[in-house]
Symmetry: C2
Subunit: 447 residues, 2 copies
């Protein structure tokens, strides 16, 4: 059933994100045998995860099975598995379930997770957004908050204020805050009869003195104004010092919160440390200029896991285009090795960046060119549709967007999970210290 | 925020399935105040659940938020809550979280779950299909089985046979078996490189001497042949006597199984017993001919929870049209009460039934009219598209079906869940007694 082993060099790629997938594509039909390992069976189009978290898109629309994507690459095999360690001297990757896999070349592209700056205990109260599961959990909490407010309003004639707090004013935080405001202001307004969803508050907390600080100051300011037009309260210079159920502490002030989302800071996959390589504080591997690990020319680290400096000393950002460029570079150097050519150093080409803020609003910056508003938003839409993997996903996501634009509805509004889970989720809203007593009040009737 | 209480009679509906939703619609704009309680926020279109379980459709495409559906019914409120009991003398429904709700009329429409005939311990090894969560769990297991076989094939050059066992030859079992065969034969065939997914076996076990035994013998036989054409092995007169991880016992014979799905027998919601009413062995409430509970004329039980006999002594089946007809009857009698009119007894009108078997194959039976094959399949498609709630869902599901028909692909192929869950799921396949030793063999290399 299995093809006989060949003498072609074996390349193992870890991770089916933008970097890993692009490396596999670059090695397609080349004289190597490739195995791509991922602990999920699907590639996730992370730039649109916030739309799953805010009920615009369904998970299946931004995720594709990895082996479907690589179906037509006969020299690439896909393996569902979780890496537990490396034996680089023996050129072996160790996997869960006592599995291992040998390589001649290794490309590690396992990406990053959100990080809590030494406060991992915050994760439960302020989930981040990196996977489909994360997005579904955030969607669940946001939708439940409205359901519970409706229930309170029916029972007591009033309800706790709905406060959504997004921590971190980077692209993800800005997109989430804008989209949550859109849900409250438009999508849900007609569906709730006891509460006015439009009275919900959305707050974006940013530690620095401006949001989106990888952009020019002018665009940052424009984005801030756009967010405020959408009903988001933007608080700058606001460091979060503590988080507990239902409350976020900024400096010395506790802020009531129905749902908190963490969009501040990421850390590279722990696989970087497992390689035994030198890493920076965010867990990124300090790679050589050909993206290989020092002393291990056959081991490459790419994407969000790699710490790469530009010529001006700035860091290559953790974005999809950078991961893809690194993948091309690593694949090229591996194929070059096989032909006996010298290594080529990696050089990042910044193609510009864009962030969407909400309906009709986005910002685009390409070198000195800056743009905001509707045209930037259209550019964002077109680029993301083009970047989506698979003709089918493009077609269906475009249809969903057109639908959502004209109806102003959010259609992927399922709260899934068992009733017991539901009860746990309620605790984020009802278990706030000091609120317990009123909850314990004797059985009160609805209407 | 809450409207002031009125003197209009209060109707509480429990359940947002076909029965409960239809009752709410029938009471829309009538002189009653309605509250619909469900523990989920969404209505699930159960007839298409098997398509979520087999990766054709996404959950959001067959489920709609209940409050969205009832948005334009000003006298209907929707409450997310779980019923824990009743105080019928005080006309109160008790809910979780110390909540309660008063009623003048109560319509209980909480449906049914799959039942294991006193073998609840089988549920973990043979999940049933009644909710979105059930469907995702089955999808996960089916897709994982192929992934793990691929992994085995890469590691050992061979793999355990892929055996999918569906227990129960009713409509759900037939649809699931046909759809799983479709996945193995067509949808996945090109995506796996080490295994031949077409060699997977799908077995349908039925205790009686024919499948779909609510249909005529001729159509049962036709359906059996259709299933066999699709590659399903149909075993009749096959009673399941035991289930354990990786194996199903039929009579005295243990059958190896990668994934087992339970589609045999349902039990009514335990809320029937909580009403203190007389129930049959399947937990259905024995209602009066106006569908009210004996001695409680203001409490109606409808849908799968009600045991209702036709004039010929046969039972009204647990299908959506029956639940909807009961909803209309209960609503009519409540409104009649208010006007001082006498009760009208419920009479079921059988509009016929249909089941789909697979690509181009279905059966339809309306009275003496019987039909199979492509035309029946088209009739099935049209009816289910029309029945789907919401123009948007109709549009998108139709698009998905057209896509799936011409590409022969299954696109909703995500395996979601954490890595630890994954490991648990693996156990269904690898923890089979007697298979453990080969698994414990020393670390073997891939390729």
């Amino acid at each position: 059933m299995k093809k006989e082993g060949t003498n072609k060099p074996k390349v193992v790629i870890i991770g089916g994100g933008f970097g890993g997938l692009e490396a596999a594509k670059a090695l397609k039909d080349k004289p190597v045998e490739v195995t791509l390992v991922d602990k999920k069976n699907h590639h996730t189009f992370q730039p649109l995860l916030y739309q799953v978290a805010t009920a615009v898109l369904s998970p299946g629309q931004i995720a594709s099975p990895i082996r479907r994507i690589l179906r037509r690459a006969p020299n690439v095999e896909v393996l569902l598995g979780e890496v537990t360690g490396f034996d680089l001297d023996r050129r072996t990757v160790l996997l869960k379930d006592d599995l291992s896999i040998d390589f001649d070349y290794l490309i590690v592209a396992a990406g990053a997770r959100h990080a809590y700056f030494g406060h991992d205990e915050w994760e439960n109260d302020a989930p981040g957004l990196k996977t489909i599961e994360d997005a579904l959990e955030i969607r669940r909490r946001v939708l439940l908050a409205f359901e519970l407010a409706e229930r309170d309003a029916m029972r007591k004639g009033t309800h706790e204020p709905l406060n959504f707090v997004v921590i971190g004013g980077g692209a993800t935080g800005v997109e989430l805050a804008g989209a949550i405001a859109g849900i409250a202001r438009q999508a849900l307004a007609k569906d709730f009869k006891a509460i006015d969803t439009r009275s919900a508050k959305v707050m974006l907390l940013e530690g620095a003195d401006r949001i989106l600080n990888s952009y020019s100051e002018k665009l940052s300011e424009r984005a801030r104004k756009d967010l405020e037009d959408l009903g988001v309260e933007v608080r700058l210079n606001s460091f979060v010092t503590d988080i507990r159920p239902g409350e976020v502490k900024v400096g010395d002030e506790w802020i009531d919160s129905s749902v908190v989302v963490w969009a501040s800071g990421v850390a590279a996959s722990p696989l970087g440390a497992m390689l035994g390589a030198e890493t920076d504080r965010a867990g990124r591997v300090l790679v050589d200029d050909d993206l290989s690990v020092k002393g291990r020319p056959n081991v490459f680290v790419i994407g969000d896991m790699a710490r790469v400096e530009n010529e001006d000393g700035s860091l290559v950002p953790g974005v999809a285009p950078a991961a893809m460029q690194m993948a091309w570079s690593a694949a090229k150097n591996i194929l070059g090795d096989i032909r006996g050519e010298a290594r080529t150093p990696f050089r990042y080409k910044d193609k510009g960046s864009m962030a969407t803020i909400g309906r009709n609003k986005a910002i685009v910056e390409v070198g000195r060119f800056k743009m905001g508003g509707f045209l930037a938003w259209m550019a964002w839409l077109v680029l993301h549709i083009v970047m989506l993997i698979g003709f089918r996903n493009r077609l269906f996501v475009l249809s969903e967007w057109i639908w959502a634009y004209f109806t102003r509805e959010r259609t992927a509004r399922l709260i899934t999970g068992d009733a017991e889970d539901l009860k746990d989720a309620l605790q984020f809203i009802t278990a706030k210290p000091g609120r317990a007593e009123s909850e314990k009040a004797s059985r009160s009737k609805v209407a």
